[in-house]
């Protein structure tokens, strides 16, 4: 095993998968010669050549649209959108085609496509470079949305996403790209889609989170542990369709639910989690469901960036609130 950062893990995974599956093709702006603005695709062009590592013109709709065509043709395209904020130029291709061609063709064609994009705030970036739009994909019937929180998960989830027969929106929290390294399994390694990870077990409250907020929630859980409060932290990993059993099992046990994501609060993934719990285990609930989330604003530039997304203190406060309710 090697100690890798998340972006290194992604790079290694692409190298390994492309070496063993000829159908895999990487395309996007600056993914070739430049190796990607975050270096996620570095070295691929040299290794696999310009037929499989494709620098594209500046046109997101056709990056995704042509990847759909390749997928239909039997390739396994991995399209990179340079920043999540530019995915909307390709939104029609995702909404109208990637998610629909399997059904529209009655299963004759599938769209085994992965759309990777750096995701979220935390790197003091420009406008459109700090968004968290996962809900806008999760709401679209036919899509899957994955957001890893660790380098190992990045490898295991990316592998499963590329092998998945359907379109996966794979969002990579920028703030985690280089935040820490960990031992990442070498060679074949899969984390199945749809399975959450219990980051930390606990009995008094459930915290459901994902992506860049996992470590924030972990820290909060550690903090309250010192006060004798035992919080269970669940990392969804697959944001949609999420692991409903993991959620309901935990909430049934703890009776309290805190949801944490950096995306805008209203109609976010947290809303669906809350709705599911309010439907499936209302009677277990001993306190109102609390969401700790980003605000319904344009993610602020660097000067205010940190004020918009949740920090451990807020999560701690939310735990207190529900536990003391």
């Amino acid at each position: 095993m090697a100690r890798l950062s998340m972006v290194e893990a992604i790079n290694v995974t692409l190298h390994e998968l492309m070496a063993r599956d000829e159908r895999i093709v990487v395309l996007g702006e600056d993914v070739g010669k430049d190796g990607g603005v975050f270096r996620a695709t570095v070295g691929l062009l040299d290794k696999f050549g310009p037929m499989r590592v494709i620098d594209t013109p500046l046109a997101e709709s056709c990056i995704v649209g042509s990847a759909i065509g390749m997928a239909v043709y039997g390739m396994r395209p991995v399209a990179e959108i340079q920043f999540e904020g530019f995915m909307f130029k390709a939104y029609d291709q995702v909404y109208s085609h990637a998610s629909r061609l399997r059904r529209r063709s009655q299963g004759v064609y599938g769209v085994p496509l992965v759309i990777r994009a750096p995701y979220g705030a935390g790197v003091r970036a420009l406008e459109h470079h700090s968004d968290a739009p996962e809900a806008l994909f999760a709401h679209v019937p036919g899509l899957k949305v994955v957001i890893p929180a660790t380098p190992s998960d990045a490898k295991g989830l990316l592998t499963s996403s590329i092998e998945d027969p359907d379109t996966v929106i794979f969002l990579e929290p920028k703030r985690l790209y280089r935040l820490f390294k960990e031992e990442v399994p070498e060679g074949d390694y899969r984390v199945p889609l749809g399975e959450a990870r219990v980051v930390q077990e606990g009995d008094d409250a459930t915290i459901v989170t994902y992506g860049g907020m996992v470590s924030v929630c972990e820290r909060a859980a550690q903090h309250v542990a010192s006060e004798g409060v035992s919080a269970e932290v669940i990392d969804l990993r697959t944001v949609w369709p999420f692991d409903i059993d993991a959620i309901t099992k935990s909430v049934t046990k703890t009776g309290r639910l805190i949801i944490c994501h950096e995306a805008p609060r209203s109609l976010g993934v947290g809303a669906e989690i809350a709705a599911q719990v309010a439907e499936k285990c209302l009677l277990s609930l001993q306190a109102p469901i609390v969401r700790v989330t980003g605000n319904d604003v344009i993610p602020p530039l660097s000067k205010l960036e940190e004020y918009n997304y949740p920090d451990s203190e807020q999560v701690v406060r939310a735990i207190h609130e529900t536990v003391q309710f």
């Binding site: 093709v25 037929m51 499989r52 494709i54 594209t56 013109p57 046109a59 709709s61 056709c62 995704v64 649209g65 042509s66 990847a67 759909i68 065509g69 390749m70 997928a71 239909v72 043709y73 039997g74 390739m75 395209p77 029609d92 291709q93 109208s96 085609h97 061609l101 399997r102 059904r103 529209r104 063709s105 009655q106 299963g107 004759v108 064609y109 599938g110 019937p141 036919g142 899957k144 998945d164 027969p165 359907d166 749809g194 369709p241 409903i244």
Partner: protein, 356 residues
């Protein structure tokens, strides 16, 4: 490079059916008959479909009348391994790729199961969001080029589609990567109520190729031979030299935009008139009469045969069992996730059925 003007129009057979025989030498008599047969079948199927729609037996649907030559000509020009990406008004081309008439009725009758492309047809299902499937044609061509497969890809879309961003991005990709792809534009002069000159300020559509460094051609879309020869030549060029093309088929939408439309609100009989004389089916018939001993008897016989085929497909269509309500959950994913299983289950309860 000179810019195309309206005067550029490739034609080998005039509206009277008089053809440049040398130019069409390579098209065998059998192929000419096949063209006529398919064009006639398309027209008869289309007529029937419109009448079923009026009777409430089919849903909204776009008539292809007037565009049979550009449909059948381009479809027949495709090789068996080539790919075809249609828009929504391409029944004629779809028939050349083995589309089942009954399936088309099924689809336009409101049952998705009819959309399944025939096995090995290398054809995408109908695309309704105008212009967006041109990107898919580009991707298929990229796949073919990457794999070294000696095939070409053809898309078809309307004059309206040339205004879409996806048209532009697709042609640009094709130029940059030198892809084996041919973009056919059915210039039928209308996008619902919007006439061509309000769609673009250019004189021709083919001249737009200049913005992408690709080949642009302009063809009489009501001359099936000109269509076939041009598309075939450019598909060959795509296949053998990876040279992409944009082909403008100059034709006309003879009917309303769809059965939901009333074209009299925005166009007059005077506008359509000149195009009646250019009818693609009549034109080919005149040619066959003059050159291949076609006559009224043969015509009647063919029409009877094809009409019977169409009628049979109507019967088959109407005999199809309704889809089960839970069919809507099929093929959403390769494997049904929990939330859809839950919703399917709820649907079954609503129907008073138990899990299937």
């Amino acid at each position: 490079m000179r810019q195309m003007t309206k005067e550029d129009l490739f034609q080998v057979m005039d509206p009277e059916g008089q053809a440049d025989l040398a130019a069409i030498e390579g098209i065998s008599e059998a192929d000419r008959m096949k063209m006529y047969r398919l064009m006639m079948f398309t027209r008869l199927w289309n007529t029937k479909a419109l009448s079923l729609q009026r009777q409430g037996r089919l849903g909204t649907l776009a008539s292809v009348r007037g565009q049979e030559a550009s449909n059948v000509g381009m479809g027949l020009a495709l090789g068996p391994d080539d790919w075809f990406c249609p828009a929504f008004r391409e029944y004629g081309a779809m028939f050349t790729r083995g589309a089942q008439p009954v399936k088309l009725f099924q689809y336009w009758g409101g049952d998705e199961r009819g959309a399944a492309p025939p096995e090995n047809s290398h054809m995408l299902p109908v695309c309704i969001t105008v212009g967006s499937h041109l990107c898919h044609a580009v991707g298929i061509a990229m796949g073919a080029k990457i794999r070294g497969d000696k095939i070409a890809v053809m898309s078809s879309s309307g004059d309206g589609s040339t205004s879409q961003g996806d048209f532009h991005e697709s042609l640009n990709f094709a130029g940059v990567y030198k892809l084996p792809v041919v973009f056919v534009i059915q210039n039928n002069h209308w996008a619902i109520s919007v006439p061509l000159h309000q769609q673009t300020a250019t004189e021709t559509i083919s001249q737009k190729a200049a913005a992408y460094g690709i080949n642009g051609e302009r063809v009489d879309g009501n001359d099936v031979f000109a269509v076939y020869l041009t598309v075939k030549r450019l598909l060959d060029l795509a296949r053998s030299e990876h040279k992409p093309s944009l082909i403008e088929m100059v034709t006309y939408r003879m009917d309303d935009h769809t059965t939901s439309d009333d074209a009299s609100r925005y166009r007059t009989e005077e506008m359509i008139g000149p195009w009646r004389a250019k009818d693609p089916v009549d034109r080919l018939r005149k040619f066959l009469i003059a050159n291949h001993g076609w006559d009224d008897n043969k015509e009647a016989e063919l029409q009877a045969e094809l009409t019977a085929q169409v009628e049979k497909s109507v019967q088959d269509y109407e005999a199809l069992p309704l889809p089960h309500p839970t069919e809507m959950f099929d093929h959403m994913y390769a494997e049904m996730p929990w939330h859809l299983l839950e919703q399917k289950d709820r649907m079954l309860k609503r129907l008073g059925e138990t899990a299937r």
